[in-house]
Structure formats: structure tokens, C-alpha cells
Amino acid sequence: MLAVAFIAFSMFSFVGDPVTNMLPQDATLEQRTALQERLGLNESLPVQFGKFVTNAVQGNFGISYRNQRLVSDLIAERFPATMELVFAAVVMSLVIGIPMGVYTALKRDSWLSHLLQALSLTGISVPTFVTGILLILVFSVWLNWLPSFGRGEVVELGWWSTGLLTVSGIKAMIMPVITLSLFQITLIMRLVRAEMLEVLKTDYIRFARARGLTNRVVNFSHALRNTLMPVITITGLQIGALIAFAIITETVFQWPGMGLLFMQAVSFVDIPVMSAYLVMVSLIFVVINTIVDMLYFVVDPRLRVDTGQNKAGA
């Protein structure tokens, strides 16, 4: 986290002079100093960094250079949109990717496996924005079935705005979610396949077969459960990656999330927004890592050393 804070801050100090970008060409010197003072740019670097960290801890990232609003407000506004997109994509990639991975691992030589394998490589090779553009072309431009931008109607639930409760909101979500999850599906599939092939070679699977257990029990109750352990970790990491990929997806579909905010910030060199986004993303990373660790604890009995509360096998 501190590393991120440092990077975010370095951007503050190295990247040009935001004042130039914000004021009209013919601004007077007084206007410049006034603005510099307001943004706190007239103080020494260590002082600026210290302020940055204390403010960031309190959730205060300053004021956006571009539209003069509190960065924390901007982020809070955009946060639900990105999160809904990302979690829908995660759910979809797990729900589709895991069965596909299991199938290709178990039926290694069937034609469908070969097809899925080939498709998965294609999936990795097609950039997110190309997927998005193709979807828009087919479903919005040619067929006119789905909206090509925005979130549709959203419902406010306290500070959280959701698109999941309206028809137009869900329709608006379909294409972005497919776009975002396509790459993840192939990734999860390849991971599950590789892990499962590895697990199927282990002694306890051979022993389970030697005990005459049915294929269904061996494959699903034994092999799959052991396979999913590393999948949990990778999925956790991938949520972080998805947030980054969401930048592209949100740009293609003009989805009003943090990624779009970030891209707009990049093109205006709006440093407070950029650094807030960074800090936000790494915060999500940390949270996810913690959740992953906790999940491991639930799934793997070896981590619950002799608590004596283990569930009975029968």
C-alpha cells in the first residue's frame, strides 16, 4: 500500500504542471499562484507527500483538477458501476470456465475438448476492445437488440446505485459483462484444466480409483475439490486484473465506472483522480487477498490445525 501511495505521489511531483492545463492560456500570474495555493502545490515535496498520505488515509484525495469536485465523491459515484460489472464478470467466468476446464481435463481426447482448447487460445488472443466492438456491431448496430453504451436505468439503494433491478439496466450489462469475462473464462478454463490434470495424476486419486469409487465420485468429489484450491487464489488475483481490464471495457461501452473516470483523468492529466483510483484499486487488492486467505481456511482442513471441530465424515 505504501508503495502505491509513493507511486501515486511521485506522479504528483513529476508529472508536469497541472496548473498550466487548468487555466486558460491568458491567465494572470495571480490566478496561477492562487490556484497553486488552493491545490497545495506551493509547498515543499516532503510536506506535500506527508499531506497526501494523511489525507488519503482519511479518504480525502483532494480536488479533481478537471472538474473541481472532490475526488472521493467522484470515486464513490463510479464505484458501484465498476463493481457490479466486475463481479458479474467474475461469476460468469467461474460458472462457465470451471465446467469447461473440468470437461477438457476429463475428456482430453474428445473433439469438443479440442474445440474448446482452440477456442480458449482464440479467447486469449482477442483483445477486449475488439470483442466489445464486434458485439456492438452485431447486437446494437445490425440487430439493434441491446444498448451500446451506458448503464440503462439505475436504482439508488442508499449510496449504492444498481443496474440489476431494471430491465434496461440488465440489458445494458449483458454486452459489457460478456466482453469483460470472455478473457477470464478462457483463463479459468485453462487453469482448471491444467490443475485438474495435475490432480488426476496424484496418488490419492489413483488410490480412490483403486478403491473402486465411481468415476463421478472420483472426478467431482475428490479431484474437483482439490483442483479448486489454486483456482480460488487465481480468481482472487483476477478480480484485480478485471478491474484494470474494466478500463477498456468501460471505454468501449461508455460505462460510467471508475475505469472510464480514470481514462478521462489520464487524458486530462488529472493527477488526484489518477492517484485516488490507484489507491482504491490496491485497497481492493488487499481486501480480496484477505478474503482469499479466509476462504482457504474454510476449504483446507490442513490450515485448521487440530481444532477438534471438524465435521464428521458420515
Binding site: 506522479m11 487460445l121 482464440t122 475488439v130 466492438i133 456491431l137 451500446s148 477498456i248
Partner: protein
């Protein structure tokens, strides 16, 4: 000098011996993929000679020719095989030039990342201690962030530092720098891992005993042994590099429209999408996907061929 060529030769021989040719001939997909890659590279290299039009020569452009569909569609013009964009540029020609830039940026950033990664990896493994810890710590941080994000940041910072008047000329170098700095970690890790193993082998110790300098030892003795894994990483990363470049250009922070890469072309095409002008966006997309897919296939095959155990 002689001994060095011999070493490299023996490395090369082992390389060929490792069932490489056999598995190449056995895999028709790989053959097709390599044909595609080399055709695209060749076409891109020869773009100035084989492109039917010069998309950057403003004098030949005519708005009368704008948004023409591909030749085989009604209203198409045979001189513009794949149609034209909003400014009357020939899509095919623009694509050839675009692929040229994409491949150039891809290869250069891979080369840059490889040199950087290999040097840092060797350094980390060979010097050890605080140097090792620092380098690998940075590598850990880098790898925990999605590459697109890192590339975006480095790209953004570099643009911020550069004075505006230089930005246009430097943009290609900024891209190469950003992508290279994003992708060096894997090389460094691979090299460090192998070097750690090789470092304590007798022949390296022997080289030390006879008083060779560490730099010589690293270059002559350790490097040839890690060339296989590095090649695999490089191939896979070429696909990644091309993708990152395309993504950055698509987002509007990569190559400018005056000097478009495939990603820029797709960005331009995206603006025409709603008027039903699909060809401007589709054809560059197809080329991009074909290129990346073929490189990925080569990488997959290379990995399998060099590590029979993984199959």
C-alpha cells in the same frame, strides 16, 4: 571468441535435438501459425512497396473516396480493395502500415524487456544480497498489478515528463519503454531461477577459479543455458506486448491517428461503427487477432516442445 561460438553452437544443437523439429512437423496448427506470422511480418516490412496507396500522403487523399465499402460490396471501388475510411484512406494500405508499427513496437518492447529482464535477473542471482532483494521486491510489486494498468501509468508519467513539443515524435519510444518496463519481470524471474541453479555447478566454479571476471562468466557460461525458457517467455510476451500496444492505442494514449498502429485504426474505426461502416474496424481487428493468435500458438507449441513433461 572461438570457445564462445562453440558454446553457443552446443547450446544450439541441444536446442534442435530437443525434439523441436519433430514436434514442429507433427503439428499442422503450428506450421499454419508460423506461416501466418511470417507472412504478416513480411507484409508489414514491405508495406511501402506492396501497399496500393500511401495512406499518409495527404495529396492523394480525396474526401470523394471516403467511406467506400470493400470492393466486393455494392458501391465498392476496385482500387480500394477493403474500402476506405472517413478521410478516404485505403483501409488495406493503412492496415499494412498499421501492422508494421504494431509489430515494430511489439518486437522492440520485447527486445527491450528481454535485455532489461535478463540483465536484472542475472544481476540479482549473481550478486545476491540486497541487490537481489531489491530487484525481486520491485518485480513482485510490478507483477501484482495488471500489465495494462502499469503500462498506462508509465505511459502517462512519461508523457507528463516530456515537453509537449517532443511528445509526438517520442510517442513510439514512450510506448516501447512503457511496455518493456511492464513485462521485464518474467524474464528476470526465469533467468534468476535458472542462474541460481547453474551458478553452483562445477563449470561455473571452475571458470571462477581460473579467474574469469563475473561478467564474462555470466555472458559465456550461464546465458546459453537459460536461452530455451527465455525464448518461450519472449514468444508469449510478444503476443502480450502487441496486445498492450493495441489497447493503449485504442484508449487513445498510444500511437496518434497520423501514425496509426492497428490499435489506433480500430479506435478510428470504432467512431464510424454506428453509421454502419464496419469495414474500417473489422479488417484491422482481424489482422490483430490473427497476429496475436498465431504468436500465441507458436508460444504454446514452443513451451510444450521444450518441456515434454508438461504435456
Amino acid at each position: 571468441m572461438n570457445s564462445e561460438t562453440q558454446r553457443l553452437n552446443s547450446g544450439w544443437h541441444r536446442f534442435i535435438d530437443s525434439d523441436l523439429l519433430y514436434s514442429f512437423r507433427r503439428s499442422p496448427v503450428t506450421i499454419v501459425a508460423s506461416v501466418v506470422v511470417f507472412t504478416l511480418i513480411l507484409a508489414a516490412l514491405l508495406a511501402p512497396w506492396i501497399a496500393p496507396h500511401d495512406p499518409f500522403d495527404v495529396s492523394t487523399l480525396s474526401l470523394l473516396n471516403s467511406e467506400l465499402p470493400p470492393a466486393w460490396v455494392e458501391g465498392g471501388d476496385a482500387t480500394f480493395l477493403l474500402g476506405t475510411d472517413g478521410q478516404g484512406r485505403d483501409v488495406l494500405s493503412a492496415m499494412l502500415y498499421g501492422a508494421r508499427i504494431s509489430i515494430l513496437v511489439g518486437l522492440s518492447s520485447v527486445a527491450f524487456a528481454m535485455v532489461l529482464g535478463v540483465c536484472l535477473g542475472l544481476l540479482a542471482a549473481y550478486v545476491g544480497g540486497a541487490v537481489d532483494a531489491t530487484i525481486m521486491r520491485i518485480a513482485d510489486i510490478m507483477i501484482s498489478f495488471p500489465p495494462i494498468l502499469v503500462a498506462l501509468l508509465i505511459n502517462g508519467v512519461a508523457r507528463g515528463i516530456l515537453p509537449p513539443e517532443m511528445q509526438h515524435d517520442a510517442v513510439i519510444f514512450v510506448l516501447i519503454l512503457a511496455i518493456g518496463l511492464t513485462t521485464w519481470v518474467q524474464y528476470a524471474r526465469t533467468v534468476r531461477g535458472s542462474t541460481m541453479v547453474e551458478k553452483n555447478r562445477e563449470y561455473v566454479l571452475a571458470a571462477r577459479v581460473i579467474g574469469l571476471r563475473s561478467r564474462t562468466i555470466m555472458a559465456k557460461h550461464i546465458l546459453p543455458n537459460v536461452i530455451g525458457p527465455i525464448l518461450v517467455v519472449a514468444t508469449v510476451n510478444l503476443a502480450i506486448a502487441i496486445l498492450i500496444e493495441a489497447a493503449l492505442s485504442f484508449l487513445g494514449v498510444g500511437m496518434p491517428p497520423t501514425e496509426p498502429s492497428l490499435g489506433t485504426l480500430i479506435r478510428i474505426g470504432n467512431e464510424f461503427l454506428f453509421s454502419g461502416v464496419w469495414w474500417v474496424v473489422i479488417f484491422p481487428s482481424i489482422v490483430l487477432v490473427l497476429l496475436v493468435l498465431s504468436v500465441n500458438l507458436l508460444g504454446d507449441w514452443l513451451r510444450d516442445a521444450l518441456n515434454p513433461k508438461l504435456r
